[in-house]
Amino acid sequence: MFLNIFINRLKINIRDKQAIGWSLLFSLALGTLFYCAFESIYKNAVNTVVRTAVVLNAESNTFGDMGEILKTIQYDDGTKILDIVETDYENALLLLENEDEERAVKGIIDLRNIEDIRLVLSGTKNENGEIGNAGEIEDSILSSIVGVFRQYSLMISETIKNNPERLGEVLKSLERKTTELIANKSISGGNKDPYVTYFYSLITMMAMMAMMSGAAVVESGQADQSPQGARTEVSAVNKAVYEIAGLLAVCVVQVSVTMIGLCYLVFGLKINFGADVTYVFLTAALATILGISLGFFVYQFSNISKKARENILMAIVVGGGFLSGLMIPNMRTIVEMKCPIINRINPSAVITDAFYALNMYGVGERYYKAMIYIVGLTVVFISSGLILSRRKRYASL
């Protein structure tokens, strides 16, 4: 009997081309779209070389060959910070205004007067005609670098003014490299691109949307829910067996749909989830089963109107998706900082956290915690659903 119901429910689910089609379209369309929108953002944001014009004269090399010193400054990952163009001031101004981004410079370091090193940046006029610059990151980096050279010149001028006898000693100290006082440490993880969060949320939403299929199992097996449910109820089928077989059939179809969507992301679009893909697939499969079980559980409350149950599921999918970062990638962190309990009870946030844990920490304690929650919640929903579906009264005399 179990096998018979399972096969028939499987056929019904496979023949529901609209549901399968839309679910697939959701993952394929939004996956492609996210890929197009975010593929290059992080790559473009990675440490960029700042093209800078440097204006020098004979006086400029008081602290050594300034052009060469500037060329050696680098980011912590070894990327050179500055692409130096040594030129005269007039040409530097033309380069600053140049419309061609390849040729234009971000700023001019004017080293002609070593006692007053200047940095020239471009700005925009506000409504009152005043020039302003809100400080793009490249401008701020240049400002920091120039700040260091200004320290040197200020040190010399202050020494001449206050302790002229120590000038020789001060000049010597400038040649000496101070010991590094800042220990930089990068965050570790498989893929540090924060935009990968959108893909976590996408898979989570795909998984949670499977809840409508779980709800369909209840509808097809309960007399007051559908004509098919009435027929099922009067047949000689154990209800629990019917529902378990139905759930199993739904799981086979919906997990397959999620897997196809995930395959497209992993192998088609080559999204780097930063972890062993086997675990990514496993997490997605278990998340889908959680979604199905949630729909199965909520639809057991037949005393609530169908519309209300639909709305509850919709609130869980969309609201949970929003709170787990579908629209704003750091939303989950914002919730974690303001009200962490929401992240513990929101299934979407837990699923997203499982993917995040896989990426940043690998298979470890945090990942297992999330998985235990997902599996535990699935068991609770299914067993509660099975208990709730028993001995229901639909009408009284």
Partner: protein, 386 residues
Amino acid sequence: MQVFKAFMKIVKSNFVGVILYFGICVLMTIMVASQYGGNKGTRGYTNTSTSIIVNDNDESELSKAVVEYLKSQHDVDMAEYDEDKVKDLIFSAYYTAYIDIPKGFMERHLDNDPLEINAVFDTSLPDGNYVSLQLGSYVDGIVRFENAGFSLSEAIINTQKAVEPDSFIDLKASSKGEGSTHSKTFSLFLFLPYGIMSIILWCLLPAVSRFNVKDVKDRTMVSSISANERNIALFTGSILVSSVVYVGMSVFVSIFLKGKIFSMKWLLSMMNLLIFTLVTVGMVVLISSFSATSILKSKDIIINIISLGFSFLGGIFVPLEVLGDEVKTVSRFLPTYWYALGLEKIEKGAVFNDILGCFGMEALFGVVCVTAGLAISRVTLYIKER
């Protein structure tokens, strides 16, 4: 009237969805509004300011000076977190860097083997590198001044003086359109299309589709209600619902724009939003011309694909300037792109004539949707009648 009443009844039954999407918009708006406490960057030069966490274990004269300097440059939260928490916060870009000043830093900062300040950040991104560079140059400056014979307090004052950007940065007016910061009006209006699309589609799509279900449509047709009356009732209902959504969203956003209401920027942004709202109604006409039962069954997925897709691709959730050229080529076919572009032009001080093109492109999309929707309905009817 009967059709209109039934239409409104269906709309009312979707109220939970409206509340949910409105709630999402409210949260987004509050988050955006909370970012505009000051009035930065309109005059003179201001360094990039990011959010960082500082943990001062030393609490000495030197460490306090470092903390004060960082506070003058960034949004600093004083807190102590474990390594995992720091990683979570930096990965999600909630904070750019975590600065940990060790105990005993002041005593040992001049040693040959000094205690180091720990800076944790994503080393492949410039923001964290900038914070580290800035911090490094500040501390390095103090040490050099001390090595040159100045006292710690003199070293702090001199270093502060040297790194003060106002004293050495000259700004040249540029026509290149620099600057990535936007006004509050721009930021608040930018998110609205997502809410407008979601709410209007959520309310209208099931209602209009319900009337297009074959049985319902046939029953209406054989009743005393003429096809024209039915269509007028549906049209009136749709316009009424969209107007309520438009007014609701506008009033809500305007609450955050005290003093800027009725400015040219606000008026043009409102006009932009109105056109977008009407375009969304056009989208409903097009979508509902397809199989009604299919739409009713999968409305959640359809609405999510459209609202999220259009928002991500059209520059609502992701700024237009960071979208690649290929993506923008596709985006040009979406009303959200023209909405966002129009908003950017308004932000840059454009007058009505300058943004007429954007308004026109948005409206064109709506007209195409309505025309295509009507054509599909006509063709479907023709095929069925044959």
